[in-house]
């Protein structure tokens, strides 16, 4: 599958979806003006990928900020992975949060509770 790379801006995250290099990542800040339009290509890519995924997919989420509108789209992305898990595929969501950012850690735990996909919670220092 063709790799999807979106460079980060001051209001939108970096996206790397690379099946060949086994790299799947969403990082940075997410508060784009047109949140649905921004995430549409990401959703399209993942929906297509979910048909013939790698034997194990590790999706890294390393956000430093997301607004509430983005939180809905993040859930939509996670639901694609939930569907993959339900179909028997091996998926891990690795949720990275800054040690001092309780709200980000809490957000990861909330998604973990809401979604039937194995989560790994990683805390990092600056």
């Amino acid at each position: 599958m063709e790799t999807l790379r979106i460079e980060q801006t001051d209001d939108s995250p970096q996206v790397i979806l690379d099946q060949e290099d086994n790299q799947f990542e969403l990082s940075g800040k997410s508060l784009p003006e047109h949140v649905v339009d921004f995430y549409q290509p990401v959703m399209d890519w993942l929906n297509k990928y979910s048909e013939t995924p790698l034997s194990k997919t590790i999706f890294n989420i390393r956000l430093i900020y997301f607004n509430t509108a983005s939180s809905k789209l993040i859930l939509d992305i996670l639901m694609i992975f939930e569907e993959m898990v339900a179909e028997g595929h091996d998926v891990v969501i690795r949720w990275h949060s800054l040690r001092s950012d309780d709200d980000m850690q809490e957000a990861g735990k909330e998604y973990d509770e809401m979604i039937d996909v194995p989560f790994e919670h990683v805390v990092y220092d600056k």
């Binding site: 001051d10 003006e33 649905v36 607004n67 809905k72 950012d101 709200d103 909330e110 809401m114």
Partner: protein, 189 residues
């Protein structure tokens, strides 16, 4: 639809309420069209001013409350009409602090029918405890859809649950159909 009265600065609507604020308490005041670019500029300005002088957690919450409150104006404010020209997304923001807390106040025009809905909803949020707020957030996250304007209906709920403080709101009647909505969030330092 919209405010067609004389040109009265929005700041007048909140002046009485906040006239005790001293200049040194005020981090930011802005009145004008709240576009996405303006939202980014204002939040960036506050981030820059508070960086390294304010606790990171407090700063992150002030930033988040500003983003959500300003995006509400950007998406929902009724247009302000002056001499036949509509000015969509007009609003006001005031960020102020004292020893104990930050306050983020926003103001914008709303239709009275919508004002009632907002008041009911904010009143409901103020009567909920932390667990019910978290449940409501998750329910809305799961069941709500993002509107074409980009709203997920989560902003007020998230401000209330993340700050842990009561939401302060009031409406000042402008004319028969519209009111000025004043909304204040408190972030404990």
């Amino acid at each position: 639809m919209g405010f067609t009265g004389e040109s009265k600065g929005f700041i007048n609507y909140i002046y009485d309420r906040y006239k005790n604020l001293r200049i040194k308490d005020i981090t930011l005041v802005f009145e004008g069209q709240i576009t996405h670019q303006v939202m980014k500029a204002l939040t960036g300005l506050v981030e820059e001013q508070l960086d390294e002088v304010e606790d990171e957690k407090v700063l992150r919450r002030v930033y988040h409350v500003m983003v959500e409150s300003l995006q509400n104006i950007n998406r929902h404010a009724e247009a302000y009409e002056y001499r036949g020209h509509p000015y969509p997304g007009m609003g006001l923001v005031l960020v102020a602090k004292n020893k104990e807390r930050f306050q983020v106040t926003t103001g914008n025009i709303v239709e009275d029918a919508h004002a009632e809905e907002i008041a009911l909803f904010l009143g409901k949020l103020n009567n909920m405890d932390q667990d019910s707020l978290d449940d409501l957030y998750k329910k809305q996250l799961r069941e709500g859809a993002v509107t074409p304007k980009g709203s997920a209906g989560l902003g007020f709920i998230d401000i209330r649950r993340k700050t842990g403080n009561l939401l302060d709101y009031s409406f000042v009647s402008i004319d028969k159909e519209t009111s000025f909505f004043i909304f204040t969030s408190i972030i404990t330092r």
